[in-house]
């Protein structure tokens, strides 16, 4: 009897189960919004996985290997990280990179905030043209912008010849080019649009009635800015700090072109490990260290913002 039931069971179950299964998928999709979202995201997720996550995993693996001639010794070891920790050059260059790109980031955000503020609150017609004009430097190649700064800051450059012409100096200023100043200035200008747009968006979103309410309740312009505008635009400011700080921290083109012997950054060293020094595992280890440093800084500032929010509210 049991055997009979078993042998009979499949043909009976086949049709309705299959129908139920397709029904199940569409029902699931219908019921759970996140599944629909992932379904739509799938192509992008696969591409990202293949082109970002896999290389990252390779990089991390590589950092535990050692270079032997043109080959790798695939025994896992922490030697590269130990070298990075023990040799003073790596730590010092990392610290210098943090300084240079930190200064560039702060300067850029401070300069961009008023610009974004002006466009968000005081420009009423042709806003798009203003935005386009502000991002105009971005329409030229990054290298060209760096070269432009070389021309401006150079020994016979615009600034030096201008000052000489005015009789303010008798000999060209040497600290302008091939120095940390030059690297910070160039980075600040080159990445300005990245800092400006998030700030602009967050300022633009602010509901103007809050400002009116604050004014009605007796706040002057300064207090109103500190209590309404600044806290509400803070997400944009933080976003621009990150958008600016992360890429500039690992930059190597700018120091190579406008920096002097004292402006070598950690990115330069990483590039050299993959290039002329020919020690890819060491380069991978340094890259991983850089990523970790950025993550730690990111978490710190996330925590600080949260604390600030709690305090402000």
């Amino acid at each position: 009897m049991r055997e009979l039931l078993q042998s009979q069971a499949p043909p009976v179950a086949d049709g309705p189960v299959a129908r139920a299964r397709t029904g199940l998928i569409s029902r699931m999709l219908f019921k759970h919004e996140y599944l629909r979202g992932y379904g739509l995201l799938a192509p992008a997720l696969i591409v990202t996985g293949l082109t970002v996550l896999v290389p990252c995993a390779l990089l991390v693996t590589l950092s535990f290997w050692t270079q032997v001639g043109y080959d790798y010794d695939t025994t896992l070891t922490l030697q590269n990280y130990r070298t990075a920790y023990e040799k003073p050059i790596y730590g010092a260059l990392l610290e210098r990179s943090l300084w240079i790109s930190g200064i560039a980031t702060i300067v850029t955000v401070l300069l961009c905030y008023p610009m974004a503020y002006y466009v968000a609150f005081h420009v009423h017609r042709h806003k798009m043209i203003w935005i386009i004009l502000i991002t105009l430097p971005f329409w030229t190649s990054y290298l060209l912008r760096v070269f432009a700064w070389k021309v401006i800051l150079g020994y016979e450059g615009v600034i030096n010849s201008g000052l000489m012409h005015l009789g303010l100096i008798t000999e060209p200023l040497r600290f302008l080019l091939y120095s940390n100043t030059a690297v910070s200035i160039t980075l600040a200008h080159s990445w300005a649009a990245f800092a400006l747009l998030p700030i602009y968006v967050s300022l633009e979103k602010i509901d103007k009635s809050y400002l009116e309410a604050a004014a009605d309740l007796g706040d002057g312009p300064v207090l109103r800015f500190l209590r309404i505008t600044l806290p509400l635009s803070l997400p944009g400011v933080i976003a621009s700090v990150f958008l600016m700080f992360i890429p500039t921290l690992g930059d190597y083109v700018t120091p190579a072109m406008v920096g002097g012997p004292d402006s070598t950054m950690i990115g330069t060293l990483i590039q050299l490990q993959f290039g002329s020094i020919n020690n890819w595992p060491m380069g991978a280890a340094l890259s991983v260290v850089l990523v970790i440093v950025i993550c730690v800084l990111g978490l710190c500032s996330y925590g600080l913002t949260k604390a600030f929010r709690r305090w402000a509210v």
Binding site: G69, P172, P261, L272, I277
Partner: protein
């Protein structure tokens, strides 16, 4: 409606939407059809061999015989230093012909990416000075095996280029000039160890045969560390150092014949020093890729480079030594001497210090030490 009518209509503000769209459509069709317009009936660039070389070596004057034969220049790919070039080749870039220098050859050969060159396929080979290829660099295993891995193309010196009006010479020209504290912050050096490290060895009095020992390593590193605070910029971008020399920002730089010649041609009072300790000398030239996709044309590139007209061009315009005997015919001895060259390559190469190949590990050690020195460690 022709173009002028259209433009007139635009100016008068009378251009209708339909007419405007028609114009756009015509422009679009023209753009799309552009590649179909017959071009000169020659091979497309994909068919030309690729020459992977230093910037400045991608000029038509060096490929006159090649262009005569194939109607077009070879394809070029440019690098800034031979170390970068090798990295790119090792990660899979295939160029038919690459252009390293003598001290790179054993390491390049050991990658297995290159094949020996069959000199019987080069029509200009009999005119090439044998002393430029019968050299240790062509002996992959330290033994002469008759294989030619690199065909010489240009030779010269790495020496000091200095402003005769701004640099006050004390006694003879010497490598001490690059260590002269009076000119701190007005000296420039090359960024790759392949030149600077060897110059350090000459300055430290280390014979090149002993460069691979730990004692010499420390001596050379100490000398370069001592120089570092005096250097304004380490760069391989000779265009920017040439400009800095012309403006007086720098008064002396480590450089090659070509920079000295180009500055002199511009009327800048510079001299290519002949230091009493001897300059650093080298030979560079093409190597053939093991998987060269256009082997026949690759040989044509090499043959073109060592032809008499190419040699004349690099002598006259770049100030480098040529490898073809015939190239020297239009020049007189005095002129050659003023450029730091000679009709007999040996007199220059042997008078200076000729760079010797180092093992891969030692090279890596040198490069990382030099990078640390440059960064101030």
């Amino acid at each position: 409606m022709d173009v002028l009518d259209q433009l007139g209509a635009v100016r008068d503000g009378k251009l209708s939407r339909r007419a405007f769209n028609r114009t756009l459509f015509a422009a679009g069709v023209t753009m799309a059809a552009m590649p179909l317009i017959p071009r000169r009936a020659v091979a497309s660039p994909e068919d030309q061999a690729t020459y992977f070389t230093w910037g400045g070596f991608d000029v038509p004057e060096m490929f006159v015989p090649y262009v005569e034969k194939h109607g077009e220049l070879p394809n070029f790919s440019i690098y800034g230093s031979t170390e970068d070039a090798l990295t790119k080749l090792r990660s899979g870039f295939v160029a038919d012909v690459a252009h390293p220098c003598s001290s790179d050859i054993p390491n390049w050969v050991s990658t297995g990416l290159f094949q020996p060159i069959d000199t019987s396929r080069l029509s200009n080979w009999p005119d090439v000075f044998p002393e430029l290829y019968d050299m240790p660099y062509n002996q992959a295993n330290g033994q002469p095996d008759g294989k030619i891995w690199m065909v010489p193309f240009e030779w010269g010196q790495s020496s000091i280029i200095y402003r005769t009006d701004l640099f006050e010479l004390e006694g003879e020209e010497s490598w001490d000039m690059m260590w002269d504290a009076r000119y701190a912050g007005r000296l420039g050096s090359l960024a790759t160890a392949s030149d600077a490290w060897w110059v350090g060895a000459i300055k430290a009095g280390v014979p090149f045969e002993e460069i691979g020992t730990d004692a010499s390593f420390d001596k050379i590193a100490a000398v370069l560390r001592e120089q570092r605070p005096l250097i304004r910029v380490y760069t391989d971008d000779t265009t920017s150092t040439d400009n800095a020399m012309a403006s007086g920002e720098l008064v002396a730089v480590l450089g090659w014949n070509s920079s000295a010649l180009s500055l002199q041609t511009q009327g800048v009072p510079v001299k290519f020093a002949q230091p009493k300790e001897g300059a650093l000398t080298w030979v560079c030239g093409p190597m053939l890729h093991a998987q060269a996709p256009n082997l026949d044309r690759a040989y044509d590139i090499i043959d073109s480079l060592i032809s008499a007209p190419s040699g004349e061009f690099i002598l006259a315009d770049y100030g480098y030594g040529a490898v073809n005997r015939k190239s020297f015919e239009p020049f007189d001895d005095a002129m050659l001497a003023s450029m730091g060259l000679s009709r007999d390559p040996n007199t220059i190469l042997q008078a200076g210090h000729f760079g010797l190949p180092q093992s891969l590990e030692w090279n890596a050690k040198i490069v990382s030490e030099f990078e640390a020195i440059k960064s101030g460690f």
